[in-house]
């Protein structure tokens, strides 16, 4: 099957700092891929390259048949088909929950207001927050805000959803409500790329795990294999630290 997301030899620099080094990977439709690695390994930067929020200096990224690097590419149009969930939720605080879900539907997809609201309510129901449609983000807990943010991404009917550390800004007791929603999405066949340290989630639903360190993709393996027999010393060290932490 043709890859939905395909990147080849992607390199990126911040000034002299080489943050991504010839990264090559692909994601097919319906796949769930987890990207992990120590902090500063470039994983957040990599995922933000996939919808063009970060520019790359070398290599190619092709998403759903469209070359992100081509000057002819209409990036906003492409982004509207790729959902993204952020570490700090990034709901728009001046809009209520419903308006957060309908803004891009009406302004980008040009859906009618009624249609957008109906779609929004369906998704809010799905994340268990239909009662909060008229609340403002500030009135919600972190976990609730992140579930709204997931619904906002889904409202655009994306071909894939990118998650950038979706649980790392949450208090521990709120992590599972967000993970539950993500697991359900994965089981329904949503194409997902998630930067996360939640190894439980990775074991449960990920098809593949990409391990990054120092801006490089060190390992790219089926999730079972990655957890049972990591190939590199760096991945073993990372796993032992993070699993010890989780167990503790």
């Amino acid at each position: 099957m043709a890859a939905l997301i395909d990147m080849k030899l992607v390199s990126k620099w911040y000034g002299d700092l080489h943050v991504l080094k010839e990264c090559t990977a692909s994601v097919t439709k319906g796949e769930v891929v987890v990207i992990c690695g120590p902090s500063g390994s470039g994983k957040s930067t990599l995922i933000k390259c996939l919808n063009g929020l970060e520019q790359i200096q070398k290599g190619t990224i092709i998403v759903d048949g469209i070359d992100l690097g081509s000057p002819k590419t209409d990036l906003p149009a492409l982004r509207s088909r790729i959902g993204m969930v952020f570490q700090h939720f990034e709901l728009f605080p001046h809009l209520d929950v419903l308006a957060n879900l309908t803004l891009a539907q009406t302004k980008v997809l040009r859906r009618a207001k009624a249609e957008a609201e109906e779609r929004a309510m369906t998704l809010l129901k799905r994340v268990g927050l239909e009662a909060k449609a008229r609340s403002y983000p500030a009135q919600l807990s972190g976990g609730q805000q992140q579930r709204v943010a997931i619904a906002r991404a889904l409202a655009m009917d994306p071909v894939a959803v990118l998650f950038d550390e979706p649980t790392s800004a949450l208090d521990p007791e709120m992590i599972s409500e967000v993970l539950d929603v993500m697991v359900a999405l994965a089981r329904e066949g949503t194409t997902m790329v998630a930067v996360t340290h939640e190894m439980g989630f990775a074991r449960q639903v990920a098809d593949r795990v990409i391990f990054m360190d120092g801006g490089e993709i060190v390992e790219d393996a089926p999730s079972g294999g990655f957890f049972e027999q990591p190939q590199s010393e760096r991945a073993r060290a990372f796993l032992s630290k993070i699993l010890a932490h989780t167990a503790g």
Partner: protein, 251 residues
């Protein structure tokens, strides 16, 4: 202090042609309000786009930032003299005559001067407010497929304006205060009227107390209008949002 108080002076006829000193000083207050309203309109119309421009890289951004530095680092009085004494000399002959001979020339030039001066301050406030919005908001809007203009229109500017209401209140009060500088080019605004009343009537303190109270009243009206705007725009929800956000756990 042996000072002869005479509050009934306000009902005496004023030598400038007004029926009473009270009317003369109220006319001054009205002029101050007119100058302030038009200057504020210019300041917003020029300052807000400039505030957006000042965040861009390249020529547009440099030009906006240069504008701010130019207008901020020259005293308003010197700027007003440039508008009044220098600018007309650089105009085409017909326009020059019009500006110099029109009785409203000083009022118009002074208001333009104050407006473009205040625009530089508004520009800085708008830029600061936009910069105070976390970069993630821009990214989230872009990730949803909103174009740059839409991102400003629906996400950044509405948020910036709520953040800006308190600073705008003091900017508007500053415009009212700075409008007194226009008396130096011969406009009879509030301070000039009080000064003229003091010169004609010798009732120094009555004149200046009246002007002081009128300025306080104008400021009070500005504060009241802006508070109403704050309530109407639901700033409270937004502020508590910012607070929750900052208080949240950052990874």
């Amino acid at each position: 202090m042996n000072y002869y108080w005479n509050w009934s002076i306000f009902f005496d006829p004023a030598p400038d042609g007004s029926a009473t000193y009270l009317q003369m000083i109220l006319a001054g207050a009205a002029t101050t309000c007119i100058i302030a309203v038009f200057s504020a309109a210019i300041a917003i119309a020029v300052g807000v786009p400039m505030g957006i421009a000042a965040r861009q890289s390249g020529m547009v951004g440099s030009a906006a930032r240069a504008y701010v530095e130019l207008f901020r680092n020259i005293p308003l009085l010197a700027q007003m003299f440039l508008w009044y004494f220098v600018l007309p000399e650089l105009l085409p002959r017909d326009l020059q005559i019009l500006v110099k001979q029109s009785p409203d020339g000083p009022l118009v030039l002074g208001t333009l001067s104050l407006g473009f001066y205040s625009a530089a301050r508004i520009c800085e406030q708008v830029r600061a407010a936009l910069n105070a919005i976390r970069a993630g908001q821009w990214q989230a809007a872009r990730a949803l497929g909103l174009r740059p203009v839409q991102t400003y229109r629906y996400v950044l500017l509405p948020r910036a304006f709520r953040l800006l209401i308190p600073t705008m209140t003091s900017e508007f009060i500053s415009i009212v205060k700075n409008s007194a500088v226009i008396l130096t080019i011969g406009v009879m605004e509030l301070t000039a009227s009080a000064r003229a009343m003091q010169e004609y009537s010798f009732q120094i303190f009555e004149s200046f107390i009246a002007a002081t109270l009128l300025y306080l009243m104008i400021n009070f009206v500005i504060v009241a209008i802006m508070s109403a705007a704050e309530v109407l725009s639901g700033t409270e929800a937004d502020r508590s949002a910012t607070r929750t956000h900052r208080g949240g756990k950052h990874g």
